[in-house]
């Protein structure tokens, strides 16, 4: 009886398909990624059972840190520029193009509006290291907070060609340990500007029985 010889198989695996899949996934992730914005302030959000996802665009964001410092951000860059030009008029300062571009890329900021030109003059690295004092919330000489709310909404909502139901939405992101009084000041300012509907940002959890 002849001996059956088992041919030794090569251990080389054809990796073409695997490579294809890997790069397909890679492309997907590159295209869908939206990088986390650099955090001006660390905020630990509370959780709730709410299920409404945050809208993709048209958001005016308020962040309140545990110590009550408030920060402001708009997600739409053209609106940021419009807001800035109105602020220039209303607060009487003049900016150059470099400062405007710096503001355009500013995700979140919190300081006296009058301190903005000085802040925007700094180079990006230096800016990242400035500890921002938070928006000016006392109402001596008019409320800056209310101004921002009004100007930002005008800039977004009155943009030509904006759809009827596409309105600037207000999202509030607070730390778990922020005191209610800081939050209340913001609500007060919003309501003074006739904003009665806003979204509180929370992380998801399920209701325990």
């Amino acid at each position: 009886m002849p001996k059956v010889k088992i041919p030794r198989k090569s251990t080389a695996i054809d990796m073409t398909a695997m490579c294809d899949v890997a790069f397909l996934l890679l492309t997907f992730f590159i295209l869908t990624t939206k990088f986390r914005a650099a955090e001006v302030v660390q905020i630990d959000i509370p959780s709730s059972t709410a299920q409404i996802p945050i809208p993709d665009k048209g958001i005016m964001m308020f962040n309140i840190a545990p110590d009550g410092k408030m920060f402001f951000g708009l997600d739409d860059q053209p609106t940021r520029l419009k807001l800035l030009s109105t602020l220039e008029e209303d607060y009487g300062f003049q900016l150059d193009d470099k400062q405007r571009i710096a503001f355009k890329t500013l995700e979140l900021w919190g300081m006296d509006i009058r301190a903005l030109p000085e802040f925007l003059k700094k180079d990006p690295n230096e800016r990242a290291h400035v500890i921002q004092p938070g928006l000016k919330i006392d109402t001596v000489g008019g409320s800056q907070l209310e101004d921002l709310i009004l100007i930002a909404r005008k800039a977004y909502d009155l943009e030509p060609g904006r759809a009827e139901n596409d309105r600037l939405r207000i999202a509030i992101k607070c730390d778990k340990t922020t005191e209610y009084q800081a939050f209340d000041k913001l609500i007060e300012a919003l309501q003074n500007r006739k904003v009665n509907k806003f979204n509180l940002i929370t992380s998801a959890k399920t209701a325990k029985e």
């Binding site: 695996i13 890997a22 990624t33 299920q51 945050i54 209610y180 309501q191 006739k194 929370t202 998801a204």
Partner: protein, 187 residues
């Protein structure tokens, strides 16, 4: 790495010199490694689960006072959020006179705490008024209470299907008495 040197079996005595055919196979191991490394990076850097939002509608602040009939206090439940992570709950009486007795109780934000209080009150209101949706919850956060507390309470409202509730400043006389009693500031 994935390829191991395997001696070609058989045909040992083949002597004829032949030009070696080069294999068209490329070793893809390194490429795959790199691919997966980048995938991992992008997966971790991406914000995939978007945070959820809780929608809050506040009543419009009107300067003119509308002539709405006041809510019967016996349909209400007041929840005062304190700075010490607990909820003081009480039911304000319809009429206040010298010998009004008010029982106040304090609980926490867990599912066995404030949730039970709300459910018990819903049951009472259902017995008294025939519909548990008649219950009106008055949420009164004290200035030093935490933001987490208000989110938890609003969440309990939706979990327990409380239809009518409002966030109010703790301004009526009973609130001030209770704040005094538990040693909290209303300002």
């Amino acid at each position: 790495m994935a390829e191991m040197n395997v001696p070609a079996g058989g045909k040992k005595g083949h002597k004829k010199a032949r030009s070696k055919k080069m294999s068209t196979r490329v070793d893809l191991t390194a490429m795959v490694d790199l691919g997966f490394l980048l995938i991992t990076f992008f997966m971790l850097a991406t914000t995939f689960n978007k945070p959820k939002t809780m929608e809050v509608n506040k009543p419009a602040k009107d300067n003119e006072i509308k002539d709405e009939p006041p809510i019967k206090m016996s349909k209400t439940l007041s929840l005062m959020l304190t700075s010490r992570d607990n909820v003081v709950n009480y039911v304000s009486p319809d009429d206040i006179d010298a010998d009004t007795q008010l029982s106040i109780d304090s609980t926490d934000y867990s599912s066995t705490g404030v949730r039970k209080v709300i459910q018990r009150r819903q049951k009472q209101v259902k017995e008294q008024w025939g519909n548990q949706d008649e219950l009106f919850v008055m949420i009164k956060p004290l200035p030093r209470s935490k933001y987490k507390n208000i989110v938890d309470i609003l969440d309990e409202m939706s979990i327990n299907h409380v239809v009518r509730y409002a966030i109010l400043a703790p301004n009526d006389p009973i609130d001030s008495l209770i704040a005094l009693q538990i040693g909290e500031s209303r300002k």
